[in-house]
Amino acid sequence: MPEPVTRREFLSYSGAALTGVTLGQLGRQWLASTTPAVVHASGSEVWATSVCRECPASCGLRARMIGGVPVKLEGSPLCPIGRGRLCAKGQASLESYFDPDRLIGPARRVGERGAGRWEPIPWPKALDLVTAQIRESVSAGRPGLVALAVDEDGPPADAWSDAWRAIGARTFRTPIDTATRLRPRFEALTGVNGDPMFDLERASHVLSFGAPIVETWLSPVWAQRAFGRFRRGPSRQRGRLVQIDARRSATARKADEWLSVLPEHQALLAYGIASVLLREDRVQRGLLDEFGGNLREFQRDVIPHYTPDQVAAATGIPVVTILRLGRDLADSPRPVVVVAADANNSLIDAVFTLNALIGAFDRPGGVFVAPASIDRRGVEDEPLEALGDLKPRVVALADPSPFRTLSASPDLGRLLEGARFVVSLSPYLDETAAFADLLLPTHTPLESWHCAVPAPAVAAETRSIAMPAVKPRLDTADRLSLVASIARRIGAPEQATDEPISTERIARGEIDRLWRLRRGGPYSVVYETEWLEQLERGGWWAPAAESREDFTNRILQAGGWIDPYFQAGQIEQSLRERRGLRFALPVAIPAVPPAKIEIKPVDGAGRDGFGKGATLRLVTFTPAVVSLAGNPNQPVIYELLGQPDAAPWQPWAELHPETAARLGIESGHRIRITSRVATIEAMAVLVEGMLSDVVAVASVPSVPGAGRWARVIEGDARSLVALADPAGPCLVVVARA
């Protein structure tokens, strides 16, 4: 017989049960909290058209929008540059839109300049502030006001400069467009005032002097598509690539042959090859016979001074190799010689000279003049180098930061520190914004109107035009409208009366202009573009739209305008008008060849404060994924750094294995690189085939004031280079960290 339950027992059992239930409830809550409800964007799927602004290529984009939120970027299949393809940077720009460290609204500096303390202010007040400063600066006289921007080609960029100039500012731009930098030397040789364009796709042999073909050359997506076809085109011979580069770049890695030559010696090598071509009479006679110009003088200067022996002695490249390079180049059916944009002038001269000698001008797989470039409005801005010792009172800066895009900049920091008022028009707290007194946040590319002239890559005249894909996520403004409203407040004569300018207005105006041109049509699929070209070639043109409004809509839906008709022959034309090529006569080869740096271990805190290690020559480079990027604060970009050789998220330094062995450095070690002005750390990567007295250091933008990812990287290789002494090789001491 069971014992009766006592009250005490009953209470304790109930208590236990209650405790259990309480614990159970707590457990349920804990479980619920550990598995958070996943909230995805929901709603209907729409593909919005936009334009990528990560580099001057201005590829067409399409953004996959779910319920109005962009979740993925893809290349627009209609865009002739990428044809649906998109590079890593382009895709990563989606992260810029969501960047958690974006500026949320206008802000004013509080505390010390550069201390990074800001106070949000409303737009009208912000505009009052900047207007007052500009008024003062204008009354103080020129150059009171300076506006800095990075070269973006297109009507809005021109309108930006116009607006600033209307209120008395001097405007400066950094050219980052690859072709633009080649332009002066190309013009010197051929007389064509246009951007040279290399037809990589149809070339059979490419000799590249440091051109980052598969990295950031011209338009990266186009260049990579072209490279793919160059290599394995449909029913074509495999193209051969020879890369002359100090380091094993991604292009060098893809090359059939890579020769490690320092940048300052590359011109010697190019002239050496030219001398081989001339000496062995392997030049293409067609163009030269007709438009030889000063070929005779050139021949007289080059053949005796750049013999393979002499070039070999200076560069360390064996004589047989130089001879072979020349003969391979001449023997290929469609060779072309290409060059990096940041090459020195004598190398650029040498490269175009070689192209003239091998008859690459105006021929498939050779050099053309970009169709869009001849006719475009000249950039009236001054180059950033012209800033000199200017001490403006007010500086206005546009996004992307001119700091980042400059490899050898004048001391921008000094300029900004000297200014009384610095205003930054950028969506991000970038390098220059850190110096600013006032932040006027602008839209990110997905939120903006676009009207850009893509970098000259596709042999067609193109405009990438698009309306905003999304509504502004934060309290930001259109850059042009901002300048316009500032100008309006100042009371600039042209700005006061006119309808206020904005990127939208400029873009629509451009579409109207294109409509009136009555040629070309909206970006379209390959077939339709080909068809359009065929029609134009035959002298016909079928209007793409019934009316102007219809045309505008079609352009905006397609993301741009293209006139695919392209007829080569400008170079020949120019040569005929100018009567011949004008070869730059190279200076004589230095009598004393540049000596190799002796790799000597340095012990202890030696002279100049150099640490322990060995003296090496510094070569800096920007990894493809970060170069030219608008906003470095994208986590995925840092994950791509260094791969495949080094670890992600850090800069790396490349060394010859023997040099490394002497210093006790192995692949993956952290090393310290010290120059006269700075020290950085990087991860060592050993590269077979490099010059043994060189260390190549990746320059990764480290942005101390900027977003959470951009600031974690340490070691901007550019800081190693003394700004005061840009000439001559920079020597650094390398040692294990």
Binding site: D375, Q534, R537, G539
Partner: protein, 419 residues
């Protein structure tokens, strides 16, 4: 029936018996004129070319090589119905490839078929440069030898010359623009040339093409002046041809005035490139001006678009003039179709062609043949029969035969039929 924009091949069997209404046996051997309506917009088929997946196998001149032949490279010299025959002949091979590529075989309405055929016709005639593009260097020589250099400059410094500087059109220049300019300014040019003591040049062979190529070379043009025109509408061109009183001198297949040559009988000359047509017009403009003056016809000028329409009309004149012989068609029908089809008797595996609706014009017949080709091929394979090929001219004969046996009253309106 609704009328869609685009080309209409409203079709008519005009069934004009060429011979007298004599004995029926005699009439059987006579050919009849199969009149096909002129297209309104010959390039409308370009969109269909992509929509119907043609573009996945064929390119239209250039582009990456594809499975099928590049239609832009085929110089086809036959009538529109020969083209249709070729279309028919390639059906089995094409279907096999389509199966490999998992492309749904397209079906065509007769309107679509007409558009596609008009495109291919137009393509041959004036999109591709017949015989290859002109040579700029040869053109330069033409420019000099014909005396153009005396008045025009293509380089920068031309302020002292009487003619307009052509530099602004550099890179963007079209043969039709040239034709228009030369036509409209002919009289002024003639007087200027007289003043300079130059003789009126004549252009022969490829000279005009070379000249266009020379003027087109380079990309320096900054002109916002219109140099391109819409591909001409042959139908509008036909109207213009009479409005501008060309018909007063020129006859088309016997209809029209005397004085100039009958353009309907000179197909070879009229299917050259636009540039060569421009050359023809230029060459005869002197004589024509004189003739105009004699007849008291005021000077005729063309806007660019009108010029395009006129030339388009001239191209398509022969498109609409196809002759077929019903008698031969009957034999072809017996040889190649009668295994399955009958006319009127109602027997056979396939439908009785006497009773199939809407088979009232050549293009509709071609379209119907095309659309049934998949099924037919299957039947043929079952029976182990070969694919009946249509040789040159046979398509026209067969069509003529079928139309003659259809219950079509000959007195249909010639332009009213439409889709």
């Amino acid at each position: 029936m609704k009328r869609m924009p685009g080309i209409v091949s409203g079709v008519v069997l005009t069934a004009i018996l060429a011979g007298a209404v004599g004995s029926s046996t005699h009439a059987q051997t006579k050919s009849v004129l199969l009149s096909v309506e002129l297209p309104d917009s010959p390039t409308a088929g370009a969109r269909l070319f992509a929509q119907k997946s043609c573009v996945r196998c064929h390119s239209l001149g250039g582009g990456e090589p594809r499975v099928g032949p590049d239609l832009g490279r085929i110089l086809f010299s036959g009538t529109v119905l020969d083209l249709a025959g070729a279309f028919w002949n390639h059906a089995p091979a094409m279907r096999e490839k389509m199966q490999d590529l998992r492309i749904q075989p397209p079906t065509m309405t007769s309107g679509e078929m007409a558009d596609i055929i008009a495109l291919l016709t137009a393509y041959r005639y004036y999109i591709t440069e017949l015989g290859g593009p002109g040579s700029p260097s040869a053109g330069r020589a033409v420019f000099a030898s014909k005396g153009c250099v005396h008045c025009h400059s293509v380089n920068g410094n031309a302020w002292e010359q009487p003619g307009p500087n052509l530099r602004r059109y550099r890179g963007r220049f079209s043969a039709i623009f040239l034709a228009q300019a030369m036509w409209n300014h002919g009289p002024e040019m003639a007087s200027a040339m007289q003043g300079l003591g130059l003789k009126w040049p004549k252009f022969t062979g490829r000279e005009m093409g070379d000249l266009v190529a020379y003027l087109q070379a380079g990309n320096g043009g900054s002109s916002e002046e219109r140099v391109y025109f819409e591909p001409g509408s042959p139908r509008r061109g036909r109207q213009l041809f009479s409005d501008k009183r060309c018909l007063a001198c020129h006859a088309i297949a016997g209809k029209g005035g005397r004085g100039g040559p009958d353009l309907g009988t000179r197909p070879r000359e009229l299917v050259g490139s636009v540039a060569s047509i421009a050359g023809l017009m230029w060459n005869h403009s002197q004589g024509m001006t004189a003739e105009f003056r004699r007849r008291g016809i005021p000077r005729v000028t063309f806007s660019g678009q009108e010029m395009a329409d006129i030339i388009g009309y001239l191209y398509f004149v022969n498109y609409a003039n196809v002759r077929g012989t019903p008698a031969r068609g009957a034999q072809i029908f017996v040889d190649k179709c009668s295994t399955c089809h009958s006319i009127g008797s109602g027997k056979g595996i396939g439908p009785d062609l006497g009773g199939v609706p809407r088979l009232d014009d050549p293009i509709a017949i071609i379209a119907a043949m095309w659309n049934h080709s998949a099924k037919m091929e299957e039947e043929l394979r079952k029976r182990g029969l070969p694919w009946p090929r249509l040789e040159s001219g046979e398509a026209a004969d067969l069509t003529a035969f079928l139309l003659s046996r259809r219950d079509t009253s000959a007195a249909r309106p010639t332009t009213g039929a439409s889709r």
